[in-house]
Symmetry: C2
Subunit: 384 residues, 2 copies
């Protein structure tokens, strides 16, 4: 295979890959980004954003972002507690560089976003999963895990969670559990790394507040990103955390040398925030995805055999299907591939090869007709 | 100090900081970037660059960049051997993540770019310096160092060098030494990380070929960046290396999760390359900096007392002044600060507190009048 490619994921012709956890191009706001780009270069603001950037991120951007988040999170967000990132993957990578050493242990949700584990592994970190129930991570079991790790002389350094609309399950951590999580982590000296990537993609508001609401506790790193609310290609996001945590990130060699991250792109997005286009775009995404949830849910009910269960998601990108106990998601996936549809099998998301009788479907990458057709094919695969 | 800032470096009013190793805003090509931005959003190319990017970097960008480098480096550069980065600081950070472990040893030039050492330190890496002479790193001494390290059971993992116009000395590694370096590193199983940031800013061509010319040896990572030839705020650069090295970088969790780096910005720069504006901009920078070299050299000869020596740089950003033996660059800097001028003292660039009787001056951040005035103040400080 040549390495000259144009996108991260290229789905083979004729296949509907309901496994792709990415937005499709129909929701990319190219017109509003084009307007923002024109505005950027229309003044001498470029004297600033073309230069090495301020360590915490461009000041104009942080002020605009704080204003946006204060509304969107319904929570007073201080611009001085924001740090600009290249998106949540880079943010997690930097957190690992600055807050861990090889062989440290990280606690994650079981199941969790499988690609986050690759970032942990690059830093020599082991991942230990704590099960979820319908209210998110079992914080009681987390506490037992943290106690056990401490007694073994290898206290957990980080707790990585996706509090809203967990990937792959779509489950959110309840408000009560969030408060418990902050307490438990504090007692055990672990940092909470909250990947709040889907927080603003809620289709049945209001849900619990973001983990941002606990940053004053000093052990919470809330990571947000424009990837899912504007466009992934921007590679722009933010960390909201205490001034001590941000000071540590800013002391990194990466920032000291190259300056704050992504000044040109953050200037572009500043225009999008100021114009009100970001808030409008999120409203439009909610409408779009809410409809796709309905479409996929109806298609599943019409096509998927009895014994397979799922919960209708209230946000995020995913349906998480439980096949009958004893089924193997990976072999279901092989059968599905034969009829031109793909998904992701559950064990990908497990820290120990569990979740075998689950599969994850996304509605973010396809429009209605393909969702319907993809689910119909999936139904045939499950009946095969 | 508030953390709401707009640039990495803010020079206090009234001070001329000849220590700043950054371009000034007068050379930022805002107009051509504005044109490129308009071109980007004028077609449906945004369907690609707004999406998660191809792992190695956007294909269009890599093809355009390879064409540009083939001309600029006078060397056939294969687009499949290019990987898009967020600039050389991020590139070095990623190389450390993927090719080192805590407590590994990295060999650097003595002196070297002081902020690179921060990136190494974040990864738990120790730096050992090998002296330069007028032909760059003493590769004979490098070999002795590598032998000694190997005999101590801690073989060097990386050799970090700035082959063209080293920061801070302005010295370039000769063509003969480059070939020797590739051989020595190969014999000792060390990777060469060549920070070729100033390679294209040569004011008296032709110099030796870039370390890119040795990538087929399989142990050379050539890092290039648009920071100095277009604008730092873009946070865009590239790695040119063997397919095995690139495959390792692409296997990182960072890329697997977030996709290739900076698709939106690389699309912008692709337009700048295709239009010919990049090559034109570099010509314009060469003319500008060649003149500033003359201005600073004349000002130094007119103002700096006898016993202080320097070599007129033939590229890059810096003059490296040797004060009389026994002088202390740091205390000279304090005196200089009192008369409204700043520089960087030599020991910043040393791995072991050496280079004390040197100071580094840059001509990149100021126009002629301020260079002249700054050097005049420096002359007064040195005579104080």
């Amino acid at each position: 295979m040549t390495t000259i490619q144009y996108r991260q994921v290229e789905v083979p012709e004729g296949v509907i890959d309901l496994g792709v956890g990415q937005p499709d191009a129909s929701v990319f706001p190219a017109a509003l980004l084009g307007r923002a780009a024109a505005a950027c270069y229309a003044t001498d603001a470029s004297d600033e954003f073309l230069q090495y950037g301020a360590d915490y991120g461009d000041g104009h951007h942080r002020v605009a972002l704080a204003g946006f988040l204060t509304d969107a999170y319904n929570l007073a967000v201080d611009p001085e507690l924001l740090f600009t990132t290249n998106g949540n993957s880079q943010a997690l990578d930097l957190v690992c560089t600055m807050f861990t050493r090889h062989d440290d242990v990280v606690v994650v949700e079981e199941p969790t976003y499988f690609l986050a584990r690759g970032i942990l592994a690059d830093h020599g970190l082991g991942a230990i999963g704590v099960p979820l129930d319908e209210d998110g991570m079992r914080v009681d079991l987390l506490e037992l895990t943290l106690e056990k790790l401490a007694s073994e002389g290898r206290p957990a350094r980080l707790i990585y969670v996706i509090p809203a609309f967990n990937n792959p399950t779509g489950i959110s951590l309840s408000a009560e559990r969030r408060a418990m999580l902050a307490d438990v982590a504090e007692r055990h000296g672990a940092l909470i790394v909250a990947d709040e990537v889907y927080h603003l993609l809620d289709y049945d508001p209001p849900g619990p507040p973001p983990m941002s609401a606990w940053v004053d506790r000093g052990n919470v790193i809330s990571m947000g990103t424009f990837s899912k609310i504007l466009a992934p290609g921007l590679r722009l996001g933010w960390i909201h955390a205490s001034s001590e945590i941000l000071a540590r990130l800013v002391s990194s060699g990466l920032v000291a040398s190259g300056g704050g991250l992504n000044p040109v792109t953050s200037a572009l997005v500043t225009e999008v925030i100021r114009s009100g286009d970001l808030a409008m775009n999120i409203e439009s995404l909610r409408r779009e995805y809410r409809r796709r949830v309905d479409v996929m849910d109806r298609a599943l009910r019409a096509n998927i055999p009895e014994g397979v269960t799922w919960r209708r998601p209230t946000g995020g990108y995913f349906f998480w299907l439980a096949l009958p106990e004893g089924s193997d998601g990976e072999s279901v996936r092989s059968t599905a591939n034969e009829v031109g549809v793909d998904v992701r099998h559950g064990s990908l998301f497990s820290s120990h090869g569990g979740m075998r009788h689950h599969i994850r479907l996304s509605f973010a990458y396809y429009l209605d007709d393909e969702i319907v057709e993809g689910v119909a094919r999936m139904g045939r695969a499950l009946q095969a």
